[in-house]
C-alpha cells in the first residue's frame, strides 16, 4: 500500500483526531495547572466526540459532548474554581512519582498493545469488513434502550434510574455537610 493511498480523508481525519485526543490526554495529565488540565481534557473529550462522529454515531457524539464536555467538565471546572485560588493552582509532582507512574503505564501500554497486535486478529472477524457508513436512527436507539428482548436494554435503563437517584441523594448528603456542622 502506498503512502498516497493511505492519505484518504478518512485516514487523515482519524489521525488528526487521534493526535488531538492523545495530545490532549497527555497534556492534561502532565500540565501542572489544573485549569489547563481541564482544558486539555476538554480537547480530548471533543476529539473523542469527533471520533464518534467520524464513525457516524452522531447521537453518541452528541451525548459525549453534552454529558462530558458540557456536564462533567463543568463540574470539574467548578470544583477547580471552588477549591483552587487562581495562581496557586500549579502543582509540582516529584519525578519519582512520575517515574513510578510511567513504569506502570508504559509497561501496561506495551503489554496490552503487544497482546492486541500479536494475538488479536480482529481483521479475521466475520464482520470485520462490515463497516457500514449508515447512521443509527434514533428510533432504533429508543427501542433498543426500552425493549425487553435480546440486545435490548430496558432493565439496565431502569437500573440506571436507581443509580442516578442514589447518586443524587448521596452527593447531596455529602455536599450538604458544611451547612450542618455550622
Amino acid at each position: 500500500m502506498e503512502i498516497v493511498e493511505l492519505l484518504t480523508a478518512n485516514n487523515i481525519i482519524f489521525v488528526l483526531l487521534s493526535m488531538v485526543i492523545l495530545a490532549g490526554g497527555l497534556l492534561s495529565v502532565l500540565t501542572e495547572k489544573l485549569m489547563h488540565a481541564a482544558f486539555y481534557l476538554f480537547l480530548t473529550l471533543v476529539g473523542i466526540a469527533g471520533l464518534y462522529l467520524h464513525m457516524n454515531y452522531e447521537f453518541l457524539a452528541a451525548a459525549q459532548l453534552s454529558v462530558y464536555a458540557g456536564g462533567i467538565l463543568m463540574l470539574f471546572i467548578f470544583a477547580i474554581v471552588l477549591v483552587h485560588r487562581i495562581g496557586e493552582n500549579s502543582e509540582s509532582v516529584s519525578c519519582k512519582k512520575k517515574g513510578w507512574a510511567a513504569i506502570a503505564s508504559f509497561s501496561g501500554a506495551v503489554l496490552v498493545l503487544a497482546t492486541l497486535f500479536i494475538y488479536g486478529n480482529f481483521a479475521n472477524c466475520p464482520a470485520a469488513d462490515a463497516f457500514t457508513e449508515s447512521e443509527v436512527n434514533m428510533k432504533l436507539i429508543g427501542t433498543t434502550l426500552l425493549g425487553t428482548g435480546k440486545n435490548q436494554y430496558l432493565l439496565p435503563f431502569e437500573a440506571t434510574g436507581i443509580l442516578l437517584l442514589a447518586c443524587i441523594i448521596g452527593a447531596l448528603v455529602i455536599a450538604n455537610k458544611e451547612k450542618e456542622e455550622k
Binding site: W100, A101, A104, S105, G108, L111, V112, T115
Partner: protein, 666 residues
C-alpha cells in the same frame, strides 16, 4: 499343710504388709509397725522354712501344667517344681509373663537365706531404729520397705521365668533405693541412693536387652524350658552346634551377646567391676538394711541369676562363663585391695562384700557341666553364698551395734571396744575368722571349695589370684577387727554419756543366731546333697593341699594384721608414708567413681543432654519462634505497603493486572 496352698502366702504376706504398713504409717507408732512387720515376717519365715524343709527332706508333689505329677525328689535328684504359675501378662502367643513359685534346690536354699537374714534384720532393726530413732514415724516406712524388699527378693528367687525375675529384680532395686535413701535428709544418702539405682538400672538395661534377645529366639521366658535337656531349646534356637556358635551378630555369636548382657544385669546388682561403684556408697542406708540387702541377699542376685541359667551358660555360652570368672577374679582382687585402705568400717565391709561375691562369680565361672570336678564350682558358689550371707550379715549387724555406741563409722573413733561390748566382740571375731577361711568356721568350707574348683578346673592363674585375695581378705578383716576392738582405747568413751555397751536383746539375738550358724556350719547337712548343678548328689572332694595353702595364707594375713594393728604403733603410718600416692589412690577407690562421673556428668549430662536441650531450645523452638517472628516481622515491616496513598494503591492495582496478564499470556 498343702505346699500349694501356703506357697502364695510367702509372696502375698510381705506384699500385704508393705501396703498395710505403708498406708497406715501415720496411724501407728513406729514400734507398733515394727512389731506387726516382724510378726508377719516371722510367719513368712516359718512358711519358708517349712517349704524348704519339705522340699529337701520331705516328700510332696505338685501337678505341672502338662498334667503330670511331679515329686520333689526322684531318687537322689531334686526336681524343679512349679508350685503355681499364674498368667500375668500375655505378650505374644509364646511369650507370656507368669508370676509363679518355682522350687528347686537353689531357690529353696535362697528361701532359707532370705527368711533367716530378713527375720533377723527385722528383729534387729527394732532395736536399732528405735533407739537410734531420729525418726519415729520413719520406722513404719522402714518396715514397710523391708517388707517390700522381702517380697521382691522372694519373688526374685522364686521366679519361674526370666521376666518374673526381671520384674522382681527391679523391685528389689527400688526397695534398695528406698532403704539407702532412708535418711533422705542427708545429702550423702540421697546421692548414694540415686547412684545405686541408676547404676543398677543401667545394668538392668543390658539384662532387659539380653532377655529380649534370648526370649525372642527361644520363644519362651520359662527357666524350665530354657534349662531343660541341657539347654537344648536355646541351642536349637540359636542354631548352636558342635562346629558353629550359631547365629551371629556383628561377628559375635548372638548367644554370647545375649547371655553376656544378662550377666551384665547380674553384674550390676552384684557389684561386679565396673558396676561396683554403688555398693560402697550404699552404706549410707541404715546398717540393718545394709546387712540384709547389701550383704546377704540382693547383692547375690547376680550370682543367683547366673546359677539359675547355669545350664544355658554352661552349654550354650561357656565363653561367657570364662569372662565371668575373669571379671570376678579381677573384681575380687581389686575390691580386696581397696578394702585394705578404707577407714570407714562399713565401707570395708562393703568392699569385702564385693570381693566375696566375686568369689561366688568366679566359682560359677570356672564351673561347667560334665563331671563332679567341673561341677564343683557351682556348689561351692552356692555354699559360699549361704555362708557369706550369714557371716556377713552378722558382721554388718555388729557394725550396727558399734556404730550405735560410737556414733561414727570411722575407725579412728574406735579402738579398745572389746572391754565394753564383749558379745559383739566375739561375734565379730567369729565373722572375721569365717571370712578369713579359718576352720571350722563356715567360710573355710565354702572358700576352700571355691579355690579347689578353680584349681581343679585348670584355672591356675585365677586360683593364684583368688588365694592372694584370700590373704588380703584376712588381713583387712583383722585390720578392721583389731582397729575396732583393740588398738588403743578411745578416750572419749570415758566422757560419753552412755558408755559403749552390748545392746539389748533385739540386737544381740540376731548376732548370736548368726554366730551359731557360722560356727556350727559344719554340722549342716551337706550342700553336696542337692544344691548341685545336676540337683543330685555329688562328692565334695577335699584337696588338703589347697586347703592347707589357704589356711596358711589366711593365717599370714591375720598375723600381719596382728602385728600392725593389735596395739597402737607407728608401723602402719610408716608403711603408708612410704607411698602416699598409692595409698590415697587406693583410698579413693582407684578413681573408678571419678571415671564414671566423668562419663556421666561431663559427657552425658554436660555434652549430650546440654546440647540436646540447647538444640531443642534454640533450633526446634527457635525455628518455631522464628516462623512466628518472621510472620510478625513481615507484618510490621510491610506497613509501607499500605501507605495510605491512594495512588500507590492504584499503582499496585495496575501492576497487579499487568503482571497477571503477562504471566497468563506469555
Amino acid at each position: 499343710m498343702e505346699i500349694t496352698s501356703i506357697a502364695p502366702w510367702v509372696l502375698l504376706l510381705p506384699l500385704c504388709m508393705f501396703v498395710f504398713l505403708g498406708l497406715t504409717s501415720h496411724k501407728f507408732s513406729g514400734q507398733t509397725s515394727a512389731k506387726i512387720g516382724t510378726v508377719a515376717f516371722g510367719i513368712v519365715a516359718i512358711l519358708c522354712y517349712y517349704i524348704a524343709g519339705q522340699y529337701f527332706f520331705g516328700s510332696f508333689s505338685v501337678v505341672n501344667e502338662n498334667g503330670y505329677e511331679v515329686f520333689n525328689k526322684t531318687g537322689e535328684v531334686y526336681n524343679q517344681m512349679t508350685i503355681f504359675n499364674m498368667e500375668w501378662m500375655k505378650m505374644t502367643e509364646n511369650l507370656i509373663i507368669h508370676i509363679g513359685f518355682y522350687l528347686d534346690p537353689i531357690s529353696a536354699m535362697m528361701l532359707v537365706v532370705i527368711a533367716t537374714v530378713s527375720l533377723m534384720v527385722h528383729i534387729y532393726s527394732y532395736g536399732y531404729m528405735f533407739e537410734h530413732g531420729h525418726f519415729d514415724e520413719g520406722m513404719s516406712r522402714y518396715y514397710a520397705v523391708l517388707s517390700l524388699f522381702s517380697f521382691a527378693m522372694l519373688g526374685l528367687v522364686l521366679a519361674t521365668n526370666i521376666f518374673q525375675m526381671y520384674i522382681f529384680w527391679e523391685l528389689v532395686g527400688v526397695s534398695s533405693f528406698l532403704l539407702i535413701g532412708y535418711y533422705f535428709f542427708k545429702p550423702a544418702a540421697v546421692s548414694a541412693c540415686k547412684k545405686a539405682f541408676i547404676v543398677t538400672r543401667f545394668a538392668d538395661m543390658f539384662f532387659l536387652i539380653g532377655i529380649l534377645v534370648l526370649s525372642y529366639h527361644a520363644q519362651t521366658f520359662d527357666f524350665d524350658k530354657l534349662n531343660a535337656n541341657n539347654a537344648k531349646l536355646v541351642m536349637d534356637a540359636f542354631q548352636i552346634t558342635a562346629e558353629s556358635k550359631g547365629i551371629a551378630f556383628l561377628g559375635f555369636p548372638l548367644i554370647t551377646i545375649a547371655t553376656f548382657c544378662i550377666f551384665l544385669g547380674g553384674a550390676g546388682k552384684s557389684a561386679m567391676f565396673p558396676f561396683h561403684i554403688w555398693l560402697p556408697d550404699a552404706m549410707e542406708g541404715p546398717t540393718p538394711s545394709s546387712a540384709l540387702i547389701h550383704a546377704a541377699t540382693m547383692v547375690v542376685a547376680g550370682v543367683f541369676l547366673v546359677a539359675r541359667l547355669f545350664p544355658v551358660y554352661s552349654f550354650a555360652a561357656p565363653e561367657v562363663l570364662n569372662a565371668i570368672c575373669y571379671i570376678g577374679a579381677f573384681t575380687a582382687l581389686f575390691a580386696a585391695i581397696i578394702a585394705v585402705a578404707q577407714t570407714d568400717i562399713k565401707r570395708v565391709l562393703a568392699f569385702s562384700t564385693i570381693s566375696q561375691i566375686a568369689y561366688m562369680m568366679v566359682a560359677l565361672g570356672v564351673s561347667r557341666f560334665g563331671n563332679h570336678e567341673t561341677e564343683l564350682g557351682f556348689t561351692a558358689s552356692m555354699m559360699h553364698l549361704f555362708t557369706h550371707a550369714m557371716f556377713k550379715a552378722m558382721l554388718f549387724l555388729c557394725c550396727g551395734c558399734i556404730i550405735h555406741c560410737v556414733e561414727s563409722n570411722e575407725m579412728k573413733h574406735m579402738g579398745g571396744l572389746w572391754k565394753y561390748m564383749k558379745k559383739t566382740w566375739i561375734c565379730f571375731g567369729i565373722g572375721c575368722l569365717a571370712i578369713a577361711g579359718i576352720p571350722p568356721f563356715s567360710g573355710f568350707f565354702s572358700k576352700g571349695e571355691i579355690l579347689t574348683a578353680c584349681f581343679e578346673n585348670g584355672y591356675k592363674a585365677i586360683y593364684i589370684v583368688m588365694t592372694a585375695t584370700a590373704g588380703l581378705t584376712s588381713f583387712y578383716m583383722f585390720r578392721l577387727f583389731f582397729h575396732i576392738f583393740h588398738w588403743q582405747e578411745n578416750e572419749e568413751y570415758a566422757t560419753m554419756k552412755h558408755k559403749p555397751h552390748d545392746q539389748e536383746w533385739q540386737m544381740t539375738l540376731p548376732l548370736i543366731v548368726f554366730a551359731v550358724l557360722t560356727v556350727f556350719f559344719f554340722l549342716f547337712p551337706g550342700f553336696n546333697n542337692g544344691i548341685t548343678a545336676t540337683r543330685g548328689e555329688m562328692e565334695m572332694p577335699t584337696n588338703w593341699f589347697i586347703e592347707g595353702i589357704s589356711i596358711a595364707v589366711a593365717l599370714t594375713g591375720i598375723g600381719i594384721a596382728y602385728v600392725l594393728y593389735f596395739k597402737k604403733n607407728d608401723m602402719p603410718k610408716q608403711i603408708m608414708d612410704k607411698c602416699p600416692e598409692l595409698c590415697s589412690f587406693v583410698y579413693d577407690r582407684m578413681k573408678i567413681d571419678e571415671i564414671w562421673y566423668g562419663i556421666t556428668r561431663s559427657f552425658i549430662f554436660g555434652v549430650i543432654c546440654k546440647s540436646i536441650a540447647w538444640f531443642d531450645h534454640n533450633c526446634i523452638d527457635g525455628f518455631m519462634n522464628f516462623c512466628a517472628w518472621i510472620t510478625k516481622h513481615t507484618s510490621y515491616n510491610t506497613k509501607e505497603a499500605q501507605s495510605g496513598n491512594v495512588q500507590q494503591y492504584v499503582w499496585v492495582f495496575i501492576m497487579g493486572v499487568i503482571t497477571i496478564v503477562f504471566l497468563a499470556v506469555y
